[in-house]
Symmetry: C2
Subunit: 415 residues, 2 copies
């Protein structure tokens, strides 16, 4: 075997019974029958609840936890999350609609996005959601629309800090960025906000995401809180909310390990007294998407053909990159690596067939980009078997080119 090669973090959330993966307590072949066709995404609601509970257990009760819908905007999932978290964060008018449809208090919705349209600003102000303001220009637009509607817009300033979350998969802060207001420009914009009479909520400081280094996350949290305290000292408006984002990653690729967030809870608890002193009205909030739902979901596709081409085994699936761009390696990755993949209805079948060995799982598209697994050690699969891609609860269907080559969209179920 491949003992010295980096391995995927073990799959610890979905039980295997009699060689069959269970999702939402249901054997995978039964789930596929129940869904009606492959391919599909299945999100396990109990795992989402458990992830939120585990975070609540290590976080001080004063710290709010928000779900960032963009990670997975499936309405049934957002409805489930709305009952678990303190706020929903949206990134478009369409996501705002999904959030409002859950019945959550609009005061617990915030809307970030660097190019909010006139109609989206109007939606958010009319609904009473908080706008995370990305620029002076957007602040002016919000105030103008607020005047038209006769509503003082609720706004927070999204700040582009001078630092970034180190070793993060996605750097959202530091240096020149299209996101938010450069920290050094914020005092001017705060004075403008006061003059315009908007309903000021506070700050949104987001320095990166998908980090697997808790020390880096903790450091960026400290710097975000310090920055907020500094900006608040120059603000004519009181800070009621301080959203410092999330940043916690999940393991996707061989060699990556799950992080233990417990020290983050202790670290934030240690900050609270100073925060209460400096910003007495402020509630600290963490915003997370991927970390809350990413490990709770799988993508499932069926083997349509099994081919041996020049000694290599290809499992040709009815699903692929058009449903799961990230797993194909085409969503920001520089070098393609495999997500954790398994044969869900025969998890540990012996590779005793004559053409056994590493197998690749490829999709129905006529492009060599359509790969879900490249030369992986998989159980011996046959036509009709179910290939499972783990770590697929976030940035899956919604982040993929569903229309590419005109194949049917993936179904999505919450179980």
């Amino acid at each position: 075997m491949t003992g010295t090669k980096p391995q995927h973090a073990p799959q610890i959330y979905f039980p295997v019974v009699d060689d069959v993966l269970h999702v939402g307590g249901i054997p995978l072949p039964r789930l596929a029958q129940r869904v009606g066709r492959t391919p599909f995404y299945a999100i396990d609601r109990a795992l989402c609840s458990a992830r939120v509970a585990s975070l609540r257990a290590i976080l001080p009760p004063q710290v709010a936890l928000h779900y960032s819908i963009k990670a997975n905007p499936m309405p049934a999932l957002v409805q489930h999350m709305a009952g678990l978290v303190d706020g929903l964060d949206v990134a478009s008018g369409s996501e705002l609609k999904i959030a409002l449809d859950t019945g959550i208090d609009p005061a617990r919705i915030s809307f970030a996005g660097p190019a909010k349209l006139e109609g989206e600003l109007t939606q958010a102000i009319a609904a009473g959601a908080c706008l995370n303001i990305e620029s002076q220009h957007e602040l002016d637009n919000a105030a103008r629309i607020g005047d038209l509607l006769g509503i003082a817009p609720r706004v927070a300033l999204r700040i582009n800090p001078e630092f970034e979350l180190k070793s993060s998969g996605m750097r959202m802060g530091g240096g020149a960025k299209p996101f938010g207001i450069d920290a050094e420009q914020a005092p001017d914009v705060l004075r403008q906000a006061a003059a315009l009479g908007v309903d000021f909520e506070g700050f949104h400081i987001y320095s990166g995401s998908q980090s697997l280094r808790l020390d880096a996350i903790i450091e960026s949290q400290s710097r975000s809180i310090e920055l907020a305290i500094q900006l608040a000292g120059e603000s004519p408006l009181a800070v009621r909310q301080l959203n410092i984002g999330g940043g916690l990653g999940i393991p996707y690729f061989p060699g990556e390990q799950r992080l233990d967030p417990a020290p983050m809870g202790a670290h934030l608890a240690a900050w609270l007294p100073r925060l209460a002193e400096a910003l007495p009205q402020a509630r600290l909030a963490l915003e997370m998407g991927r970390y809350l739902v990413g490990e709770a979901g799988v993508y499932v596709a069926r083997v349509i053909d099994r081919k041996v081409s020049r000694g290599q085994v290809f499992l040709v699936l009815d699903g692929g990159m058009h449903h799961h761009l990230a797993a194909s390696g085409n969503l920001g990755q520089v070098i393609r690596k495999n997500y954790p993949v398994a044969i869900g209805n025969r998890m540990n079948a012996q590779n005793d067939a004559p053409d056994s060995g590493p197998a690749s799982a490829t999709g129905p598209l006529c492009t060599p980009l359509d790969i879900l697994a490249e030369r992986m050690e998989l159980a011996h699969a046959r036509v009709g078997d179910l290939v499972v891609v783990f770590q697929s609860g976030a940035y899956g269907a919604s982040a993929s080119p569903a229309g590419f080559l005109g194949h049917p969209a993936a179904l999505e179920v919450l179980v």
Copy 2:
């Protein structure tokens, strides 16, 4: 200026009048009004016709030219192309529907794809389209469904050659591949096809795409024809069609040059006598997607905000990677490079503002992946201006994650 840096190939197809780009003969701001909103794709039908005509002019009249719908399946465009080419090639049941809707003779449609579903095979056989068979397993399925329908399926064998198109953007042949039947397995499959009584069309040999080296394309065409002649010698069935794909690329990135296909025409003409001798019933066909429509289309988005962050100018657009994944650098590129981009309503405005200099064009998504232009020399743009991405007629809207973050889809117009 940047005289020594590699430059984009000059834009020679869309005229600029009074500093304004014209698409389909219409000034861009007028076109945007006519479309109704931004962002949108606009394909210039006259440019598509001209490209087909220029190829016809250099190709021997015996060589058929097919349009591969997957490059751009917009129905109005497919309808237009159906009137210009000799065949339509589809890659899914949905693309087959679009092709049939044009009214083209189904005998001139072929269907390739490595994971054709039972329903898709049925569709194609019922319609009388030709199946490009990807494996023995698929051949068996097609024959079985043909028996059920009482129709002998029209089939061609898709061959995975031992060679590949050198220096191509997408390698589709050579080595172990999920596409087609390995050339060395083809004689066995041909005997099976004869035994199964299918209606045999010939071969589909596709070695790669998006090559800008005509010598490599010509070499792979020779090898494809040689391979077909060799396989035909071992075939109990006569070859009526030989589709050798396309491979011709278009220039996307700085330093890339348009190729001159004229020598390819002479090269194929030189092959025709030998082909007529070896395969007297066979018509040679070229299949192209990107090369026919890629340079005929632009993507247009509007500047919603103009920000200067730490000395860098960002044009924040209402469109981005969710509409144009390839231009964002996330469709198979290893290192992100800029597509050719311009400010369509002020193509040559002086960069005389105090904050002038290279500008980046970014989209509305809350992710640093959402970039359409990175530090490019652009005319000085203002809020409301129209940013144009050239070379966007192929693999645009349909190859992009339209649902990502819930922003509206791009419109598509043929003008």
